[in-house]
Amino acid sequence: MLEIKNLSVSVDGTDIINDLNLKVTKGRKIAIMGPNGSGKSTLSNIIAGKDGYKVKQGEIIFNNQNILELDPEERAASGIYLAFQYPVEIPGIANSSFLRTALNSVRKYNGHKELDTRAFLEECKLVSEKLGLDKSFLSRDLNSGFSGGEKKKNEIFHMLMMKPKLCILDEIDSGLDIDSLKIIAEGVAHYSSGENAMLIITHYQRLLDYIKPDEVHIFNKGTIIKSGDYGLVETLESKGYKEFI
């Protein structure tokens, strides 16, 4: 589904991704862990298409297409979803209006007709109930005045509504209480299937305890320095990153 080949990226002359190779196949859950400043969030932004990065070499292939030339909205329409570490607040735009606009934009790009309002609202209701969200969640301005936990839940709510092929979760567990973490992790685990893939960026074991990744990679200085299975998470938890850096 996603293949990153020999990718090197810099910002303002500083190298931040160095000759990175990573393969994410359909149905897999991949965890990326690493110390602060190792380039994990940068990688997620580059895959999603954020401006400001200079690709020096390499390719990002998503479903047989090099996506480096695509705008972020085109990448989203082709099935890439980034759940933000710090979701933005947009006063003046209701959560449901935003989501409907987003879904219709993706549908238009893929040649599908616009969503039926009733069906959209019914699905919103079902998904929001699953995540334990209050009804008012939809009518409130997007993330405006939301608590940290509510913002993260909203990211997962959008993900479940948009049904992407590749979900990139950038520290979706940071700042969450135990109950919220469980709800979010269950939402993610429930969505994960043989039809999609997950790239989970995190610092902590607790999220991965719920999601159980198929592969774990340790990231440092913009590249993967160690790969393994779930057992690598436990090693990290007991010994820390210094064992690998």
Binding site: N45, A48, G49, K50, D51, D71, P72, E73, R75, A76, A77, Y81, L82, F84, P87, V88, I90, P91, G92, I93, F98, L99, T101, A102, L103, S105, V106, Y109, H158, M162
Partner: protein, 431 residues
């Protein structure tokens, strides 16, 4: 007839104003000739170019018949139409309703001779009383010009009448040739305990519209007034809104201002518990200016005012607001606030906000704030990452920016949305 010729006629022909006997002609003409068209030397005009106004020898229309009306104007329901500044009773779809009377100033004065005391006759009526003690008449010279040029209409709401349907005052100023000077002059009287919603719209083509509105809100009356500048083809607008509020009365004023247009707003809270809420959206594109001067004077105790402005500057344009709050001696326990937010869409665009407080009384609450910003690139990326095109994301963010102001009245919101759509047809936001 051209402006210079017109002014010469005023000075030499004693019969020239036989139908405007209420005017203090000498004083007004002296005021206009001495002070001339305002320039950036006046604080109130420093953000709006007036050189063009001074250089052109403007032609004065003789009647409304020179004017071609567009189809949009004809479709407006419950309308009072001013064609090139002249009331057109045939074209107006407003029919006499219980509680509303529309008259020429002349006819109104015949019925209410005492009203002459309220009319604009004296250039010092709206002059700026500077803290230095100077009574500065320079900024208001255009009011004298307007009073000299047109007869005007009086719209009166009878006491205790609550008018359910919105009244549309339409200023349709059109010229086939350039350089026509149009002078709508409207007086609005809301008698005791009356309530009315009025929407005033402007259509301008090839002209300078110099509009002058005076509103008198009597005790316990309630006026909701919105002013929307619609089409603006090769035109300039300088509009003045002057409002006097008595005890327990309320004004809700909403303004949509655009490029090459200046609003000059003066509100006087004359008696206890009078209240004015003013909000507006100011947009500009190309290399043009869109400017607001808004002064609220608290003359009595327990008066309240609130100003909220959203300014949107694109390309190489400039938007500006000078929001002045004056609390006079005796206006104890008054409450006043001003806030503005400016959104700058392009590197060459700019915005200016000047909250100004003149507080001459203790025991009052006054606050002000101004914020400036650009579209947040991180928010745009967030929206793009959800599949929304960059240009659509920016447009959504602009609507979110102005919604707080426009959403409070549906009829105003609908007009503003249409106008902002047109704005985005010509402004490229995907740079």
């Amino acid at each position: 007839m051209f402006l210079k010729e017109y002014i010469n006629n005023i000075k030499t022909d004693n019969d020239f104003f036989k139908n405007k006997s209420w005017l203090n002609t000498e004083s007004l003409i002296e005021h206009f000739e001495e002070k001339k068209i305002p320039s950036s030397a006046s604080e109130e005009w420093k953000n709006f170019r007036t050189t063009e106004l001074s250089q052109i020898n403007w032609e004065i229309p003789k009647s409304n018949r020179e004017n071609i009306i567009n189809e949009e104007v004809k479709k407006i329901k419950n309308s009072i139409i001013l064609r090139n500044g002249f009331f057109d009773s045939e074209l107006s779809t407003f029919s006499d309703q219980d509680g509303i009377n529309v008259n020429s100033i002349e006819a109104y004065l015949q019925k209410n001779p005492d009203f002459i005391k309220s009319l604009y006759n004296n250039p010092s009526k709206y002059a700026e009383n500077r803290l230095s003690g100077l009574c500065d008449e320079k900024p208001t010279s255009l009011l004298s010009l307007n009073a000299l040029l047109n007869n005007g209409i009086v719209v009166e709401i009878e006491a205790k009448k609550k008018i359910s349907e919105t009244i549309n005052i339409v200023n349709a100023s059109y010229s086939n040739k350039e350089d026509l000077l149009i002078n709508p002059y409207i007086i609005l009287i809301c008698n005791d305990g009356s309530e009315v919603d009025i929407k005033e719209v402007y259509f301008n083509n090839n002209c300078w519209t110099n509009a002058f509105l005076e509103a008198y809100i009597e005790p316990s009356a309630n006026l909701s007034f919105s002013r929307v500048q619609k089409s603006m083809n090769n035109s300039i607008k300088t509009a003045s809104f002057n409002c006097h509020l008595k005890k327990d009365s309320k004004l809700n004023l909403k303004v949509y201002n655009r490029e090459r247009s200046k609003e000059d707003i003066r509100i006087f809270l004359k008696e206890e518990n009078a209240c004015a809420n003013v909000s507006g959206i100011v947009v500009s594109s190309a290399k043009e200016e869109s400017d607001i001067f808004c002064k609220i004077v608290h003359e009595a105790s327990l008066t309240n005012s609130d100003q909220k402005w959203r300014l949107l500057s694109a390309e190489k344009s400039k938007t500006s607001i000078n929001g002045k709050i004056r609390v006079n001696k005796g206006a104890k326990k008054s409450n006043a606030s001003f806030s503005s937010k400016s959104l700058i869409l392009d590197k060459g665009a700019s915005s200016f906000s000047k909250p100004e407080l003149e507080i001459l009384e203790d025991d009052v609450k006054c606050k002000h704030g101004a914020a400036f910003g650009e579209i947040d690139k991180n928010i745009v990326f967030f929206m793009q990452s959800r599949g929304i095109k960059k240009e659509d994301a920016i447009i959504m963010l602009v609507y979110a920016f102005i919604n707080e102001i426009s959403n409070t009245a549906k009829f105003f919101h609908d007009d503003v949305v249409k106008e902002v759509e047109k704005f985005f047809e010509k402004v490229n936001v995907n740079e």
